[in-house]
Assembly symmetry: C2
Homo-oligomer: 245 residues x 2
Amino acid sequence: MSVVYGTMPQETLKSAADRGIDRAKGIKPGEKVPFFACGISSVMHPRNPFCPTMHFNYRYFETDGGIWWFGGGTDITPAYLNKDDMVHFHGTYKVACEKHDKNYYKTFKKNADEYFNITHRGETRGLGGIFYDDLNEKDPEHYYSLAKDCLDSVIPAYSPIINKHKNDPFTQKEKDWQLLRRGRYTEFNLVYDRGTIFGLKTGGRVESILMTLPEIAKWEYDHHPEPGSKEEEIMKLFKNPIDWV
Amino acid sequence: MSVVYGTMPQETLKSAADRGIDRAKGIKPGEKVPFFACGISSVMHPRNPFCPTMHFNYRYFETDGGIWWFGGGTDITPAYLNKDDMVHFHGTYKVACEKHDKNYYKTFKKNADEYFNITHRGETRGLGGIFYDDLNEKDPEHYYSLAKDCLDSVIPAYSPIINKHKNDPFTQKEKDWQLLRRGRYTEFNLVYDRGTIFGLKTGGRVESILMTLPEIAKWEYDHHPEPGSKEEEIMKLFKNPIDWV
């Protein structure tokens, strides 16, 4: 959980989110922008390769110039596909989002597929979820209520999947595949993740920022899943995200 | 080994090296710059925690506008300190560099300490070596000869260290420390390394670019070496690089 008051260069503020608004409104050119930010995040990297990694982050940001926005999301990263689990996870977030706006789930699901993209690999980090940023058109209470419902959905969306798989037997080969996918997770977080780059560049607390990394990650030269394997099955979905609900 | 002909945006060319010269000389504003580049690299990540990781890269770059430069370096990344090994490694490169210019080793050693810095951690990736970039003031043959001698020094500088330690017994705790240092190696390469970022941004071959990553990397929340331990001994040197020869 982070609650931060600070100032930052106007250029850095731009990298905090990608919408083209003037976040330095009310601040003179060249002057640092005083801001307030708060957020709550968690990442779970279970040891069993049949238990997916799950990450969420919900945050609020405002500048002394009166610019504010909400952002957040919850996403899931399995090493192996279980369709029922994905329908359950995405379905839970569909209900939570559509309670607030009938277009939210569809938009936020698409955002997640686009955001969690490892561009240099041409594949996603996982099997998506929801992601939103820069929301400020409606009343702040509307977005606060959305964030609360999304947070309250973490346990119903994720814990049944963990309870179902936490004792699944697995082989060393399956464990190795999970660790290779955690190598990809590391690539995404260190090369592309907005929060990570923003945090490292603004002198944030390193241990808090990099707690998103897995305990262990693996790389193997030019690895390709065997044709017809379970590894290839999920890799196709990393390359071409689909709708689950 | 890479031999590449291509074109790239003028802004991307700027990130290929950090000297303030006009690399787009002879090219119209907005037009892509045709270039030729070649290089040879290697990274060794031995499994025994008493065998240091070693990396070298030597490269030549030229544009169709007639701008050219040489770059390169060899550096060593132990998980545990062995002073004699570091004196041997640095001493071998001191001899190789000073054969070409009496100031080279001193300058290149300082460059390496500055370049291989994990800024957000306030520590270096390893115990340095030599690094140079953007060399073009002298005749190209001078720099080609320097690169050849530096390459010919890789085996004499590194292999005695491996032969000495390849059968050293080690504990799981020592292996874990090596893997934590490989987590740091991964952070440096994905967040700061010029060649990695340049390669990923210009659509280079991912497997060739990321072959620098270790087989296995580890992260542990808020890890600190025990006071008085061997891990703390080397960590002090990552935080404050010293002269070896």
